[in-house]
């Protein structure tokens, strides 16, 4: 499977995506505007709260091509962050100690040749470091086989997608053979102590629905995952994060081609939860793109909706402007406020 960009799909253009998300395929699909929902919840304009998470997307290159990927990542994507931009991120972190957590994502961030250098530098700054590891990268090439020890050396928290505890659903979303490789990778991580009680090495898994539906209860699902993975594969992990798929990029493509787009959007709107809206991740996170531009979240990043203030790039990072800004919203934001809510840290309500 190729990325939408490699297929020259119209959805590779963020403006096309936004047009569909805001107005539907035919231009006449009217849903309650997200802004109106926020107004009713007394949350508009949406403002930052205490900003503490510095999320950096260091590239769109990935060894997998998942059907739901909002990044449109894949082996054919060549956009990766340079060491110069990484250094600019480090300079910003040095000047802004309120960012206590750095969250590195991609693509498969490990495929960036400067990943280890960057992660090591962040660890030296004493920040809590999260890496979004897709698991299969550990087995993808000999040069990645020592990643579990590298993660351990810097006490990184790992957040890894495993859409389900069965092969069928996982492979449907992430590609043939991904479940088996993910199991092997999880066993390797467990071997070095990740996910094992008392080690302090955190291994969290991510559930994404493999289709046009919402996640079930995160708590109940975590119990099932723990039981199934331990019984069948002797795998342990810390927490399960249930994340809703946002109607962006390849998941949007899936919704449109499967005829589920309108139903899914109505479902998101009907499940709007004001408690989740008050806790959306864009209020405590700043998202940095591979080219150094700044966004309210990883989803706005993929829609190329830059922050709405005079500090739009890492080279002119200004905490004062960013704290005062209005967060950019759109109909896709319903994905983060449906039901128990959704964030890079799972359910929020």
């Amino acid at each position: 499977m190729k990325s939408l960009k490699a297929q020259h799909s119209i959805l590779a253009d963020s403006h096309e995506q936004l047009e569909i998300i805001e107005h539907g395929r035919t231009g006449d699909f009217a849903l309650v505007p997200f802004q109106q929902k926020l107004e009713e919840s007394d949350l508009f304009p949406l403002k930052p709260a205490q900003m503490e998470i510095f999320q950096v997307n260091i590239g769109k290159m990935c060894n997998q091509t998942c059907r739901h990927c909002h990044v449109d990542a894949g082996p054919d994507r060549k956009e990766i962050m340079t060491r110069e931009t990484m250094q600019q991120c480090l300079d910003v972190l040095q000047r802004n100690p309120q960012f206590t957590t750095v969250d590195i994502t991609g693509g498969a961030p490990e495929m960036n040749p400067d990943f280890r250098w960057f992660a090591g530098q962040i660890a030296d700054l004493g920040r809590h470091l999260i890496v979004r590891c897709n698991l299969t990268i550990i087995l993808a090439n000999k040069k990645y086989h020592d990643l579990p020890l590298f993660y351990k050396q810097h006490k990184m928290e790992l957040v890894s997608s495993l859409p389900f505890y069965t092969q069928d659903r996982t492979d449907r979303q992430r590609g043939k053979g991904v479940f088996d490789d993910s199991v092997k990778a999880l066993q390797k991580l467990n071997e070095v102590g990740y996910g094992r009680e008392g080690t302090g090495l955190i291994l969290n898994l991510v559930y994404n629905p493999a289709g046009a539906f919402l996640p079930p209860s995160q708590q109940a699902l975590e119990r099932e995952y723990k039981q199934a993975l331990f019984q069948q594969y002797n795998i342990q992990f810390n927490n399960l994060l249930a994340i809703t798929n946002l109607p962006i990029s390849r998941f949007l493509d899936y919704l449109l081609t499967s005829g589920n787009y309108e139903m899914y959007m109505e479902k998101l709107v009907n499940a709007y939860n004001p408690v989740a809206a008050a806790r959306v991740m864009c209020r405590n996170t700043i998202s940095v793109g591979w080219d150094g531009f700044l966004y309210d979240c990883d989803f706005n990043q993929m829609l190329e909706l830059k922050v709405n203030c005079n500090s739009t790039h890492i080279t002119n990072f200004n905490m004062h402007y960013l704290n005062k800004r209005n967060i950019v919203i759109g109909q896709h934001c319903y994905g983060c406020t449906a039901g128990a809510g959704s964030s890079c840290g799972g359910a929020v309500a």
Binding site: R169, P216, A220, N270
Partner: protein, 111 residues
Amino acid sequence: MTEHYYNAKDLAKFGNVGDFQKDLADKFFSYYGEVFKDSTLTAREKSLIALAVAHAVQCPYCIDAYSTDAFEKGWNEAQMMEAVHVACAIRGGASLVHGVQMMNKVKEIAM
């Protein structure tokens, strides 16, 4: 009246039955919510039971709702179809077991 007796969009209006009789609707939905909570059976198990019952009572709204709910809660296609077969077997069995009544009657009147 609408052209069809069943309309998929009516499922979303289920809560509106309270417009005509609020007290009883409130009691029903409160009870309904309690029934489907995790308890001695998990919400996940109850969802699969509901799917089977939906087929037994042949309610298209319930089939729509619990096909989605059961799949969301992690049941796979084969498990869901087996649940439907359970409903089918019970319905079929319910007809067939009356064959005993038929046999009894025939034996009663036959020479």
